[in-house]
């Protein structure tokens, strides 16, 4: 437990140190702090006993924070949250290393806020108390808004305000839902608590109508964060305007808070609601896949393109989650991690050429393979990881998500009856084609083709950067590349570890879905009876 707190507090202490240090020293402190956090978390992962049971570890309640409201500083991980936290901790040092030359003004503040961002995301993943989760979840907005609003592009103000307000509005619904469950728990047990497991146990006993609204409001909060169509419009703007490292963390870790929220709260807490609304969410996810993919196709801004592709990819992730069977859930969780790696890496790649050319417009810039072969190699690798090439990490999640969706109607034998089925998988599968299309178009424009450079003399304004990547930048991308390949070749340990979590999340669903199906069958037969009854007098009249 102390290791968890170490990993969360290291960045915070780092931020405090950065605040009092000099600009020169700040990035080293930040790097050390994030590395320390990663080290603590890695140590924790090594001695983590719960890889194979889907439970939280450690399980004991933390010290009281607000005793009157039963809020406790309880932290602990299950496999999924540990993986996502490891992803965050893994990306943080890389982001900091990647920002060395990108940020030249207000350096101290940048690293300080960045560390706080990382700490709050880690807190959200580590929290075992719903309010603690909410604190982490919501506090991410503050540093992120500042990172965008101060270090962003030309429209940074609009972008940061929109991001803040949009996601904040969403999470209000979520908070309300959590408090509602806590209140119900208080009514039944007489004591306030926000312990997630307890709340889940309470929530699944609520009547179906209550669960419906519970699920809907949790979903609204998380759907904004995911982001699910049509609540996605804040994301492209935020990505477009954010500094590179901000984009990386936004795409890789912050969006995962949304899907993680679904995994942790919406789905297990309100199985009846989830069953009712599953088709709605699935349809929205599919719309997101197709819609965002098509928009990517005509994007000329590289970063916006990747941002929209995140919308599409996370749509697939949500679809896998809402297939409500272990295959889809495994795929979705795996995809959460791997989308973080490949998309984060793509943002880093884009940031690297942006630093050199100060443009992300694929109409102006192109054919960089000639000038930057090393960069181009990485870019191609990560693009294919994002396309979902088998052997790289993206494939596993994509394949399982689609497969889970496909077999969702395969009831009886898998133990997890579903509703979605092949029709959904086919339409979502079009996304695979579109993904190849827009990402290869991106590659074709900026990596391949004759060299095109912007005309203004700022071509190589950045004096300290060579034409191709320098050692530091290679150092940033290499771990990501290794991770992408390694997870594509050896997903097995991770899949095994996720499996108990997936089944645990879905524990209530087989019964609920069965009930839904029975209800629908009954309604159908009643409708049939009604039409038969309606026909009788008609026939009589005809005679």
């Amino acid at each position: 437990m102390s290791l968890i707190w170490t990993s969360i507090l290291m960045p915070i202490i780092g931020a405090a140190l950065v605040a009092v240090s000099s600009s020169k020293l700040s990035r080293s402190i930040a790097l050390l702090a994030t590395l320390g956090s990663l080290a603590a978390l890695t140590l924790f992962a090594f001695e983590f006993p719960a890889w194979n049971n889907g439970q939280y570890h450690p399980l004991e309640a933390g010290p009281a924070w607000l005793d009157a409201a039963g809020i406790r500083l309880s932290v602990g991980f299950d496999t999924v949250s540990l993986l996502l936290a490891l992803l965050t901790a893994f990306l943080m040092p890389l982001c900091i290393l990647g920002s060395y030359t990108a940020v030249t003004e207000r350096v101290k503040e940048y690293y300080g806020w960045f560390l706080l961002l990382g700490a709050s995301i880690l807190l959200a993943f580590a929290a075992r108390d719903a309010i603690l989760f909410y604190v982490g979840y919501e506090f991410t907005l503050v540093p992120m808004t500042i990172l965008i609003a101060v270090y962003g592009g030309t429209e940074r103000r609009v972008a940061s305000i929109k991001m803040f307000l949009y996601t904040f509005l969403g999470s209000m619904f979520m908070l309300a839902a959590i408090i509602y469950v806590a209140w119900e728990n208080r009514v039944s047990t007489g004591a306030w608590t926000f312990d997630i497991d307890t709340l889940t146990a309470t929530a699944i006993r609520l009547p179906a109508s209550a669960q419906y609204w519970l699920f809907a409001s949790l979903m609204v909060g998380f759907a904004v964060k995911v982001p699910l169509f049509p609540l996605h419009t804040w994301l492209p703007l935020a990505h477009d305007q954010a500094p590179t490292a901000g984009s990386v963390i936004l795409a890789s870790a912050m969006l995962k808070l949304g899907t993680y929220g679904n995994y942790r709260f919406a789905l297990p807490m309100a199985p009846a609601g989830g069953t009712e609304l599953m088709v709605v969410v699935a349809v929205l996810s599919i719309i997101a896949i197709i819609y965002a993919s098509l928009i990517c196709w005509v994007q000329t801004d590289a970063k916006k393109l990747i941002a929209y592709s995140s919308v599409a990819h996370l749509g697939l992730c949500m679809l896998g989650l809402f297939a409500l069977n272990p295959v889809g859930a495994e795929g979705a969780v795996f995809y959460m991690v791997n989308h973080g790696l490949s998309t984060g890496a793509l943002f880093l790649c884009i940031g690297m050429f942006y630093e050199r050319y100060h443009t992300k417009d694929t109409d102006v810039l192109g054919g960089l393979a000639k000038k930057m072969p090393v960069w181009a190699s990485f870019m191609v690798l990560f693009t294919f990881a994002s396309i979902g090439l088998p052997g790289l990490n993206g494939f596993i999640g994509e394949f399982l998500c689609l497969g889970g969706t496909f077999i969702a109607e395969h009831d009886g034998q898998s133990g997890y009856p579903g509703v979605l089925g092949p029709r959904f998988a086919v339409v979502a599968g079009l996304g695979l084609i579109f993904a190849a299309m827009y990402l290869l178009i991106l590659l074709g424009k900026i990596v391949w083709g004759p060299l095109r450079e912007p005309h203004h003399d700022a071509g190589h304004a950045h004096a300290c950067l060579p034409t191709d990547l320098n050692a530091r930048e290679i150092l940033v991308l290499t771990p990501l590349a290794v991770a992408c390949i390694w997870l594509g070749v050896q997903p097995q340990p991770m899949l095994k570890a996720i499996e108990p979590c997936a089944t645990r999340m879905l524990a209530q669903y087989p019964d609920e879905v069965q009930r839904l199906k029975e209800r629908e069958a009954q309604m159908a037969s009643e409708a049939l009876d009604a039409t038969n009854l309606a026909q009788v007098p008609q026939q009589g009249g005809a005679r």
Partner: protein, 726 residues
């Protein structure tokens, strides 16, 4: 629906055979070494050395496996994607990294690794102008391709197959776009990958469907489950499985709806065209169908669809091939056409014919492409058959000319060549089928064979015979010709005469360099291989021995072929009996087909000889006649313009989607974000504007709002309080 028991040999689990995995590992190692070469900025031929050695070693591994082969084996290597949430058959997902080795696998692997080694050797010389990063990149691509192809063929389950399937797509993408600074190459690479992805989606859905029905994706378990009878559990009819798999096969093997990427793929370096886009990768579709042949009986029309698509594509591609001027494009269309034959063979039920044709085709088409590559290499990228003539007479080019001649004879299915026998097997099956449509397709195939002979020898007579004359291509830099110019706009008939005059000036300045040892050796070896590929058939036809190819196919899942077709067409007799008693044009089937096939082949060659060797002007005259006539005008135009398939696709799919995307993009920005999101955000802003005067700084504004607040709070409290009294 098909509970018939097909005699599929059961696989034995043999972990001790893990060394076969070297066939996968070695190309991967060489890929890594190539990467290191690139990183270390080595300028030598090291990447080629590594690759050739690795591929040769993996060929040796496959040979050893062939020697050690005694029955199907399953070789587990490590767990890749496997998890279970219960004990039931449908409560697990198992996709290990494992190998499934049966005779079909070995049959494929032998020519894949063998040809891969040879072509890599060829490329070591062909690509020498690119030494440095490009050289390493090229051999990286080749190595990755070989790895992926091996995984595709040797994989124990459909997920491994899918890995290879997409992996060869990646290699193809990287290699077609090898000359990445040429936009046409980049576009071709992109097109290849995306069109393949359409097929891949079909394959993926087919895989899911198989999984949903049989609860496993491993071949041996699948076949067992198949024999035990499928379990229909999804709301889609299980008989859709073959159609979905077919879509994947059509994409990878460039069949009718998805074939347009292959001609464009000729943008890649010629060794790539030879290896990937002629000999090996494009046969993956054939392999897929052969491997999963029992499942194609799940729908009675599945195999008929394969046959129709194959036969139709063969004819379509042949007609286009007749009107192309770029040598590589002619060969590309001939590849599509020949692949059509293979699918025809699969469709009519002779997996042996299809697979054997794959083998022979692999050799002669690789040979043809490599000779084309040699010409391109020597003539600075010139590939227009109107601008090359009489190569046979140029010193140093004899080997090329004659090896090309061998390739052309084989492609034209000249009697008693290997290709003749393989094509024969396919057409015989079709012509003797009990189904009228298969017989029709057989005759269509024969007609196509005549066209094939014509366009094949059109190339050879044009390029290697006649007076010596050549023009180097406009870009003196070695590489691949800018086909784009000819591609879109059909050439004008009378170009020939003028071109030769214009070319004379260049002729003196330009000296073609003849191929050196590596290319020559490879050409020679391949020519021998091409001839030797006929051995199994000769053994059967003349020595009445066993046909090696047939034996190999018969030992695998593809063997179920004949029975399935019979089963599907409800014919009482088996294919063999049927063929034995069948007649072609009143003669005994084998004899009849020999006569008819020889006639078609020789007829095509003779017409080509007349039009393109003896009287070249008459070819132009014929074209003028056709073009001058309103009723026939469409024919040459459509053939030259490739039946407008690309344009139709553009108009039918790409353009509407693109317009749709623009609309969505606009809508996303201005409606969804602009009107809805910002519109909602404007409500509080408007409310703020409404109350703004209250807070202008004047005291009373604050007073009013304070009083209003107090009044409202009091009102609410009073209301609550009063409710308490009532």
């Amino acid at each position: 629906m098909s509970s018939a028991n097909f005699p599929i040999p059961q696989a034995v689990v043999a972990p001790e055979m893990a060394w076969v995995g070297l066939a996968l590992l070695l190309p991967l190692v060489s890929a890594v070494l190539c990467t290191i070469c690139a990183a270390a900025r080595l300028r030598g031929k090291w990447p080629a050395v590594f690759t050739v050695l690795a591929l040769a070693a993996s060929f040796v591994v496959v040979l050893r496996a062939y020697n050690a082969y005694s029955g199907p084996v399953q070789v587990p290597i490590f767990e890749w994607m496997s998890f279970a949430w219960g004990d039931g058959r449908f409560q697990q997902f198992t996709a290990p990294c494992a190998l499934y080795i049966d005779s079909l696998t070995l049959f494929w692997m032998l020519f894949v690794t063998g040809l891969g080694t040879l072509i890599a050797l060829y490329a070591s010389e062909y690509m020498e102008t690119e030494k440095g990063a490009g050289y390493a990149r090229f051999f990286f691509g080749i190595s990755i391709f070989l790895f992926a192809m091996s995984s595709l063929v040797m994989g124990d389950n459909l997920v491994m197959l899918y890995l290879g399937w997409e992996g060869v797509g990646l290699a193809s993408y990287l290699l077609i776009g090898f000359d990445y600074q040429r936009p046409s190459a980049v576009a071709a690479a992109k097109k290849a990958f995306i069109m393949n992805r359409i097929g891949d989606l079909g394959l993926a859905l087919g895989i899911f469907m198989l999984w949903a029905n049989y609860g496993t994706l491993q071949y041996s378990q699948l076949f067992q489950a198949m024999n035990a009878g499928g379990q229909t559990a999804v709301d889609w009819d299980v008989s859709l499985i073959p159609f979905l798999l077919m879509l994947g096969a059509f994409g990878k093997s460039a069949q009718f709806p998805l074939f347009t990427w292959l001609p464009d793929a000729m943008e890649g370096p010629t060794p790539v065209s030879a290896l990937i886009h002629a000999a090996t990768m494009v046969t993956a579709g054939v392999y897929l169908i052969a491997r999963l042949y029992p499942f194609f009986a799940l729908h009675p029309d599945a195999l008929a669809t394969v046959a129709w698509i194959g036969g139709g594509t063969a004819l379509l591609a042949a007609t286009i091939g007749m009107a192309q001027y770029d040598i590589k494009r002619v060969f590309a269309y001939s590849t599509i056409s020949q692949l059509g034959y293979m699918f025809l063979g699969l469709g009519v039920g002779t997996t042996y014919g299809a697979c054997y044709h794959t083998l022979t085709h692999a050799f002669f088409k690789a040979l043809l492409f490599l000779t084309a590559g040699a010409i391109m290499h020597g003539f600075a990228g010139q590939l227009d058959l109107r601008k090359l003539s009489g190569l046979r007479h140029i010193p140093g080019w004899r080997l090329v000319s004659w090896t090309m001649f061998i390739g052309c004879l084989w492609l034209a299915a000249f009697p008693y060549t290997a290709a003749f026998f393989s094509k024969d097997a396919i057409l015989l099956q079709a012509l003797t089928s009990a189904r009228w449509d298969f017989v029709f397709l057989g005759w269509l195939g024969l007609f196509t064979a005549a066209l094939t002979a014509y366009y094949t020898f059109r190339v050879w007579f044009r390029v290697c015979c006649g007076p010596v004359h050549f023009e180097p291509a406009a870009d003196a830099h070695h590489g691949d010709a800018p086909h784009g110019a000819h591609d879109a706009h059909g050439p004008h008939g009378h170009e020939n005469a003028h071109a030769s005059k214009a070319g004379h000036a260049a002729e003196h300045a330009f000296h073609p360099h003849a191929p050196k040892w590596a290319i020559s050796t490879v050409l020679a070896v391949l020519a021998i291989g091409t001839v030797a590929a006929g051995f199994p058939a000769y053994n059967e036809a003349f020595a009445h021995g066993t046909n090696w190819a047939q034996k190999m196919i018969a030992g695998s899942s593809a063997a179920a072929g004949a029975q399935i077709v019979e089963h599907a067409s409800h014919a009482a007799e088996t294919a063999d009996i049927h063929a034995a008693h069948a007649t072609v044009l009143g003669m005994e089937a084998h004899t009849g087909l020999l006569v008819v096939g020889a006639t078609a082949s020789l007829g095509g060659i003779l017409i080509a000889a007349y039009l393109h060797l003896f009287s070249r002007a008459s070819a132009d005259a014929l074209r003028r006649v056709l073009m001058g006539n309103w009723f026939t005008r469409w024919l040459p135009i459509c053939m030259e313009r490739k039946w407008f398939v690309d344009e139709i696709y553009h108009g039918l799919f790409r353009l509407p989607l693109w317009i749709g995307s623009q609309v969505l993009h606009f809508g996303d920005k201005h409606f969804l974000d602009g009107v809805l999101v910002d519109g909602i955000a404007r409500i509080p802003i408007a409310a703020g504007k409404l109350f703004r005067p209250l807070y202008g700084g004047a005291l009373q504004g604050y007073a009013v709002s304070m009083v209003a607040g107090v009044a409202l709070v009091l009102a609410w409290m009073t209301w609550v309080w009063l409710r308490g009294f009532e």
